[in-house]
Symmetry: C2
Subunit: 463 residues, 2 copies
């Protein structure tokens, strides 16, 4: 057993106590009244990095909730790895569904119960104590390490783009390891190849100046709901393909190898439908459900409304109908280009006689895809295989993790998600927990990974 592993073993009780202490901090980033608690969690992280032996540790202003930075850069010729995590949490409501208070962490049946236990305090704490273990047992890390911990992930990291642009040199690295993630289950590891981006448009159709009597005027002018429905219907073909011209132009096709890897991830259709209460699958022809969810773009209407929505019948010809549209994007789609295509489509199909307005939403995020064969990814794969005894599934995430694309854009480095949560750990829900078994397994995995990266990651010239 390596010295760092012994150190981890011998200090495990202390580390658990410290994690429980960290979990007592109600660092809910979405609630203004908890801004001081988010700040407190930042201070806690900074102290803890300092204690671990990291250098140049600081709490950094972002314009919103602060970020925390620390580094150890005494491994010349070795790669520089940036470890990312977040110390803010989701809110706790509905509070009455918690078996124990969300910010009074307890260990029950090998699980730590608390808000933030798995998302992301437990996970980010792992590389921190691994760094301490290496520094205390060896006096050095095998490579150059930076920590960037943020306090606004759960509210969409609004200040991070500007923050990263302003601190490119400080954050410069070869590879990012994101400690915000998980594994398939207790036996099966995963690697996340991509996350989808986001583009959104708000659509509005105005007909008459006010709601009209449908008897007197019905049939003589456009009904905005008809126009809106026709516009929405025109955005897909009947088979489920997106029918907006140029929409798929920038989509990178899967390689045969990528398709085969996705096909090897087990999919239980019955369980999938049962979980979401849906009657059947539907989507772009020629793709599996995982391909559709992880590697293909979507165009979804998130909301629609217009006219009378009360009980019974009101025979109005409404003045206004509205809808919210958002697209999940995949590499190499550009959110700005996609919104332009949506606007052009609406303009093309909108009839005369009504006012059709399509407005770009403020929200937008680029898709992210790490190439197969990326050295960081392959080294992580080999470590996971060693720890779990199985090849990791190479999956995608249908959701949007803006920070991945942001790191790539601002630092020119790919992110490998290397976390040890599991999907059943009630992230964002009451009774969130983190498995102690994964907490320990993650420590060994991070230690191995840092050593392997130091050994095998190709060196790059200094910046």
């Amino acid at each position: 057993m390596a010295g760092w592993e012994n150190y981890l073993d011998q200090n495990q009780d202390r580390f658990l106590d410290e994690l429980l202490e960290f979990l007592c901090l109600p660092s809910i980033s979405s609630l203004p009244e908890h801004a001081g608690d988010v700040e407190g969690a930042a201070e806690w992280c900074a102290s803890r990095l300092q204690a671990a032996g990291l250098e140049s540790v600081r709490v950094m202003p972002t314009g919103g909730h602060p970020a925390v930075y620390g580094e150890w850069l005494h491994a010349p010729g070795k790669p520089t790895v940036l470890i990312y995590g977040h110390f803010d949490t989701q809110p706790v409501d509905p509070l009455e569904l918690w078996e124990t208070p969300p910010f009074e962490p307890v260990v029950r049946n090998g699980r730590i119960y608390a808000r933030g236990a798995t998302d992301d305090k437990g996970n980010l704490f792992i590389p921190l104590i691994v760094a301490e273990a290496m520094l205390k047992s060896r006096g050095a890390l095998p490579l150059n390490l930076k920590f960037l911990l943020e306090g606004q992930e759960e509210i969409g990291s609004p200040q991070m783009p500007e923050f990263m642009a302003a601190h490119k040199d400080l954050l410069a690295c070869d590879l990012i390891l994101s400690a915000d993630g998980g594994q398939w289950d207790e036996e099966q590891p995963i690697l996340t190849m991509g996350t989808r981006g986001l583009a959104a448009v708000f659509l509005e159709v105005r007909g008459p100046g006010h709601d009209l009597h449908s008897g007197i005027y019905g049939g003589t002018i456009h009904n905005p709901i008809h126009v809106l429905s026709a516009i929405i219907a025109s955005m897909h073909d009947p088979e489920g393909r997106i029918a907006v011209e140029g929409f798929y132009d920038q989509v990178r096709d899967l390689t045969r190898e990528e398709k085969e890897r996705l096909a090897s991830v087990p999919f239980d259709q019955e369980a999938y439908l049962k979980e979401i209460g849906a009657r059947g699958l539907f989507g772009e022809p020629g793709f599996s459900t995982y391909e559709r969810a992880w590697t293909r773009p979507t165009l979804e209407i998130n909301g629609i409304w217009g006219g009378f929505q009360g009980e019974g019948l009101k025979t109005v010809l409404p003045s206004l109908a509205q809808a919210k549209i958002s697209c999940r994007l995949v590499a190499d789609q550009d959110p700005a280009r996609i919104t332009d295509l949506l606007l052009a489509h609406v303009e093309k199909v909108a009839p005369q006689g009504v006012e059709v307005k399509a407005v770009k939403a403020q929200t937008g995020a680029s898709p992210y895809l790490i190439p197969s064969g990326d050295p960081g990814l392959e080294i992580a794969a080999s470590v996971l295989k060693e720890i779990y005894g199985r090849e990791p599934f190479r999956i995608g995430t249908g959701g949007t993790v803006p920070v991945n694309a942001l790191f790539l854009e601002s630092l020119g480095a790919y992110t490998v998600t290397f976390g040890f949560g599991q999907d059943d750990e009630r992230q964002h829900s009451p009774n969130e927990f983190f498995r102690l078994s994964n907490f320990k397994r993650g420590q060994r995995a991070y230690g191995l990974l840092l050593d392997r990266l130091a050994e095998k990651y190709p060196a790059r010239p200094a910046w």
Copy 2:
């Protein structure tokens, strides 16, 4: 001048006082707290019919607001005419917009201002005093006359179908004259040929059991809003025709003469669009705006909703999307058949994988059309021409007047609308008024009409 005209002239001040007294009664049928006032208005009508010389006068229970009946049946061999009107009114809010209180009628600038002045107390009072004038001046009416005044027109006459079915013999007649209507303007008379019927369906599309994260699940199952929009879009062709199979099968085509008569009604497109604040006309190809509004059926979405409707973006894949659909029908469309066609259409186009439910609304009404050449209609036309000096426009009403079809179905008699309101008299709005000039002109017109009908209406065998 005929004796009845002299009588009307000599008693005009009294009649006006009586009408003002009638207008003091706040007989708002939609407000339960005014049920006693509706009852009071019924009693007032009954007393007034009695005083006029009508016989068998009674306030009749309907299960809801009462109806009032009176008759004079001493003209053997002459036609029997039933006069229809309603003594209930709309509510008065917003009260602050009234220049004088709605139930404190005043005469200003030749207009009677009060709720119900034109709709319909002023109008229904006209034939009542004409009957009195004839009975008092001649001792007889030229034909057999029945009055049926109802107290629930403004709430859709819910008990009238059952009431009419139960009193077919009592109400039996050759022709109905509806005193609930008006003229084009002060110079131009009209005759209403038809009113549109109504059929309605509520539509619901259920996808997943609850709103889902559009990133995780988007693209793998049906989005209910997409399905609903596609169903709605499938109900019209791009040119504006209704694309529900069989929808037009029972529509009676206009004769060339009817088309020419509609074409002779002046239409000011600019004024029409300005009034409703719309940018352009749109409707079924091959028909004019009046033809579309009065003689062609419609299918309108009155309301739609589903998913997120708040500020900003919420990337949900919604569980549920709903819409309310109503159709305006024309002769000889049957509401029950049309809802069946709608349900069949929805079933045909609904995709697998979602639950699509279409439910018939309780509301429904048959369309009504009086044939050109109907003797009652033609006699009314000749009277209007004599009074106004102009041929009446033969128009339609896009709205639904269930009582017209109901009379036809239950009594086998057509209704000629013969009223003296005008569209600008703020029916249902603050500061409703009725022109004194029309009040007087209407008396002469009704007197002439009763005499002409007695003279020219073809006799039918007694019942």
